[in-house]
Structure formats: structure tokens, C-alpha cells
């Protein structure tokens, strides 16, 4: 199956507001895709639609051939754990951390598959290699960490179990430039041979050279499919 994610005619919104208008997107295996655009234009809504956290959605989302979209019939968030367990890992905007748990416990939470749980110590080490500052914060409560450290914990949590599709929402939001570069470099090191990665980002120059394909999102529509972008 060479197409990891296929979105057909997706529309989604919250209540009477419609945010996404007939999105069509196809992501191939091994591809790193960036969706760029300003805030409020639907990037986060797209990710939330894929993981079934929006108010309503119409249209089809096929992940590895299985249909995970569809009109919302149950409460939002009810199907999310199921979708995550199919192999979709999302790092939401704003981190969604557990303020009372330690870094180590956060990472353990991300290891939802049986194999990942068994190997969790080894994988934690891998995450610490990816994000060195976390190593000495292993037993600190995440609620007391800084923004950059929380972002690293949040991304690390999504990496604990192998996923086929990584959805990273605004990795550089609220971070100092040096730290966001480090985060993006870490994302680059993740192996997506068998899957794909979609990064939603406002800061286009940060992703320069880091992704295979860049698509713009404006007012709820995808516009402008650009290949490898040389900026500057």
C-alpha cells in the first residue's frame, strides 16, 4: 500500500462554522509533508478531523486503506483511541500534557502497544538520545517544565510506539528559534520509511530543506503544491 493517507472531499467544522472546504490530499509512503499557513486557517482542524476530534466532518479519510473518517455519529473523541491504535500518532498544538506526571511517566503513556510497553526502557533511551535535555529531567513533573521541554516531551510521547502516520501540529509554536530548530532536526531524524509524517507549521523557513513536499492551506483549502523549496 503505497498511499498511507488519502483524504477525499473532506469538510469539517465546529457547530455552525465550517472550517475545511473539500480537502483532497494524498500522502505516499516515506513522504514528509508540510502544511503551511497562517493560524486559524484550518491546519489544526485537519489534524483533528483525521483523529476524530472535530465537531462534525463529511467526506472520506482512508488510512492504509481503512476508512477512518465519516460523518460524526458518536461524541467527538470517542473513536480517537481506536484511531491512535491503528497507527496514527498526533502531537497536538499546545502539547496536551499531564501536569502531575513525570517525564518518564509521560513517555510510558505513549507506549500503548504491547511491544512498545515491553521495550519501553529501551525506547525511552532512544527518545533521550533524540532530545538530550530530557535525560536529566526524567523524574521531574512535567507541569514545572518550560515550553520547549514540554514540546519535547509531547513529541517524544508520540514517538514511543511506532506509528505509520505522524501528525505534528505546530512544533515551533511558542519556542525560541534555537529550540524549534532542534525540535525540527529531531523530527527529521525519525524514520518514516514505512509511513509518513505531516507537519503543520506557520514558519515556512524553519522547514526549508527538511520536508519532501509543502502544501499551503488558506481559508480551509489546500493551495499550491510545492516540491522541495529553496528559500532565501
Amino acid at each position: 500500500m503505497s498511499v498511507v493517507l488519502e483524504i477525499n472531499d473532506l469538510s469539517a467544522g465546529y457547530g455552525p462554522l465550517r472550517v475545511l472546504h473539500e480537502i483532497n490530499l494524498s500522502v505516499q509512503r516515506g513522504e514528509r509533508l508540510a502544511i503551511v499557513g497562517l493560524n486559524g486557517h484550518g491546519k489544526t482542524t485537519l489534524f483533528r478531523a483525521i483523529t476524530h476530534l472535530v465537531g462534525w466532518q463529511r467526506g472520506s479519510i482512508r488510512f492504509d486503506g481503512t476508512e477512518i473518517g465519516g460523518a460524526r455519529s458518536l461524541g467527538e473523541g470517542r473513536r480517537t483511541p481506536g484511531i491512535v491504535r491503528l497507527g496514527v500518532a498526533m502531537t497536538p498544538q499546545g502539547d496536551a500534557i499531564f501536569p502531575g506526571l513525570t517525564v518518564r511517566q509521560h513517555l510510558d503513556c505513549g507506549a500503548w502497544s504491547r511491544r512498545a510497553w515491553k521495550e519501553r526502557a529501551k525506547r525511552r533511551e532512544a527518545i533521550f538520545d533524540l532530545f538530550p535535555p530530557l535525560r536529566k529531567l526524567e523524574n521531574t513533573v512535567v507541569g514545572t517544565l518550560s515550553g520547549g521541554e514540554r514540546r519535547m516531551v509531547s513529541v517524544g510521547r508520540a514517538l514511543m510506539t511506532e506509528a505509520r502516520l505522524y501528525l505534528i501540529d505546530e512544533p515551533s509554536l511558542g519556542l525560541a528559534p534555537i529550540i524549534s530548530q532542534r525540535v525540527v532536526a529531531a523530527l527529521r531524524e525519525i524514520d518514516v520509511m514505512d509511513g509518513a509524517m505531516i507537519i503543520a507549521e506557520q514558519n515556512v523557513s524553519l522547514l526549508d530543506g527538511q520536508v519532501d513536499r509543502m502544501i499551503g492551506m488558506h481559508a480551509g483549502r489546500l493551495r499550491g503544491d510545492v516540491g522541495h523549496v529553496e528559500l532565501g
Binding site: G77, P81, P92, L101, Q105, G110, W112, T161
Partner: protein
């Protein structure tokens, strides 16, 4: 200060702790106030009774005169009580949690549905078993130990010991096991938990089963001094609730401390001459109101890991 009174207080505290911690845990993990906890208590008592009537004659015949007899009897009754308590917890999960947990006004509606379940169960027990109080077989006999010069009844010792074991098992399950981690994650950020593959519905089920099991254990342990009857759950429910409140809803250590305090208070009130046994409830209420006025969030009301 009579040392026997301390034992008596510990005995009471142990039972109350089982109930209060169950209530506190349920509230903090899934946001539901379980008013049917008293019914769990009564159902577990009857479950143990029915199991006893079915199995004990056979066991008595097999292990006649053996020293193992009390132990086996205890295990059978405790297992039956814990089992029926857990099953009832699952029933409450199916009826009061699953249909409405993500709908509007869940806290109040959960409270109402569990209250209705309580009402219906007590009446159903009344209708099926009749209002007559019944006694579970006496497991421990009427002997006493002599512990450091303090006379301790067998059943008091067993209760305190069993409760300590049960509570430490449950609390370490919460702190150390994977399920416990998932529960605590869910408490703190429901969306983050969903994105980590943790389903609220799947996590709530063991919590409700475990708290039901704890109520069941309390029922069997308390049955040595209190009879099994349909209304047996009312007083433990009220006591359990107010201790959970006193300890701060959501704080398990707070509930344990509160249980100790209330147990001690109850023992002390019984002894003081001009108060006596009848003023117990009044004194406890006064104490609780006082504490809540000083610390509105209860003794252990920590704001980090708890739901408001």
C-alpha cells in the same frame, strides 16, 4: 486513654477507609459521584450470604475440625463479597457511566442515576430477601489476642490486617501498574489520554470494578459486627461520603487520614461520659463542618492531580 479504644478506632477507620477511598478514587478518575456505593455494600453482604449458604455446608463437612476451616471460610466469604461487589460495580458502569459520560451535565446526572440505582437496589433486596437482618457465619470466633497487653478481638485484628493489605494492594496498583498510570493520565488531561491511545470507557471499567470490590470487602469485614440487611449500606455510604469529602475529594491519602480521624473521633465520643454513643453522628458532623470551614477543600485537597 484506653488502648483497647485505639484498637476499636482502628477497626472502624479501616472499614471507613475502604469505602471512602473508593468514593474518592472514582470521583477523581472519572468524575462521577457514586451514590450507589451503599447498595454495593448491601449487595456484597447478600452475595457473601448466598455463597455461604451454598458452599459452607460442604466446606464444613470436608474440613471438619481442621485448623484451616476458619481461614477457608474467610476466604470463601471474602471472595464472594468482593466478587459480587465488583460485579455490581460493573453494573453501575454500564448503567450510569457509559450512556452519559461524554454528554452534558454528567456530574449531576451521574449522581442522580447512581442514587436511583441505590434506591432500586435496596428495594429489590428488600423485596427478595425480606427486611429481616441476617448474620454471616462467625468466622473468627469470639476469642481475643493479647497484643502488647492490649486485648484485641480476632475479628478486629483480621479486619485491620485485611484492610491494610487490600488498601496497599489497591494503592500500589494505582501508583505502579500500567492501568493505574492510564487512570491518572485520564484524570489530568482527557484529550492527551485519548491521543495516547487511552480510552476513557476501557479505563473506567476496572476502576468501577475495583471500587465495588473494595465496598464488598468492607461489607464482609464489617459483617462480623453488623448484620446483613437491605438498608445496611445507608450508614456506610453516608460515612464513606463524608470521610471522602473531609479528606478532599480526589485525594486518596487525604481520605485515609480522614478515615483515621473519624474513626478515632467515633471511638472517643463513645467513651466520653456526657456524650455517649448517640451523639456520635452529631459530633462527627460538627467536626467535619469545622474542618471544611477552615480548609474548604478538605484535608488533602491537592489541586495538582485532582479534578475540581
Amino acid at each position: 486513654m484506653d488502648l483497647a479504644m485505639i484498637v476499636y478506632a482502628l477497626n472502624l477507620s479501616a472499614i471507613y477507609a475502604l469505602l471512602a477511598i473508593g468514593i474518592s478514587l472514582l470521583w477523581s478518575s472519572i468524575g462521577m459521584m457514586n451514590m450507589a456505593h451503599g447498595a454495593s455494600f448491601a449487595v456484597a453482604g447478600y452475595g457473601a450470604l448466598v455463597a455461604g449458604d451454598l458452599l459452607l455446608p460442604g466446606i464444613n463437612a470436608a474440613l471438619q475440625g481442621s485448623a484451616l476451616l476458619p481461614l477457608v471460610t474467610f476466604v470463601v466469604l471474602l471472595a464472594a463479597g468482593v466478587g459480587s461487589g465488583a460485579l455490581f460495580g460493573v453494573l453501575i458502569y454500564l448503567l450510569a457511566f457509559l450512556p452519559i459520560h461524554d454528554k452534558a451535565n454528567f456530574a449531576v446526572r451521574g449522581l442522580i442515576v447512581t442514587l436511583a440505582i441505590n434506591l432500586a437496589t435496596v428495594q429489590a433486596l428488600l423485596w427478595w430477601f425480606g427486611p429481616r437482618q441476617q448474620a454471616l457465619p462467625n468466622i473468627f470466633g469470639f476469642g481475643r489476642l493479647n497484643l502488647l497487653g492490649v486485648p484485641v478481638r480476632y475479628d478486629q485484628a483480621a479486619t485491620i490486617l485485611a484492610t491494610a493489605v487490600l488498601l496497599s494492594v489497591v494503592l500500589s496498583w494505582l501508583r505502579l501498574s500500567r492501568k493505574g498510570l492510564e487512570i491518572r493520565a485520564m484524570m489530568q488531561n482527557a484529550e492527551g489520554a485519548a491521543l495516547s491511545g487511552i480510552s476513557v470507557r476501557r479505563t473506567a471499567l476496572p476502576v468501577m470494578a475495583v471500587t465495588g470490590a473494595m465496598a464488598g470487602a468492607a461489607a464482609v469485614l464489617l459483617s462480623q459486627t453488623v448484620y446483613v440487611s437491605p438498608g445496611a449500606g445507608a450508614m456506610p455510604l453516608i460515612k464513606g461520603m463524608i470521610i471522602a469529602l473531609l479528606g478532599g475529594l480526589g485525594s486518596v491519602p487525604g481520605a485515609a487520614v480522614a478515615a483515621l480521624l473519624i474513626g478515632a473521633l467515633e471511638a472517643a465520643t463513645g467513651v466520653i461520659p456526657f456524650l455517649g454513643q448517640r451523639m456520635v453522628l452529631l459530633v462527627q458532623f460538627g467536626f467535619i463542618i469545622l474542618v471544611l470551614i477552615i480548609r474548604p477543600r478538605g484535608i488533602g485537597g491537592l489541586l495538582d492531580e485532582t479534578r475540581k
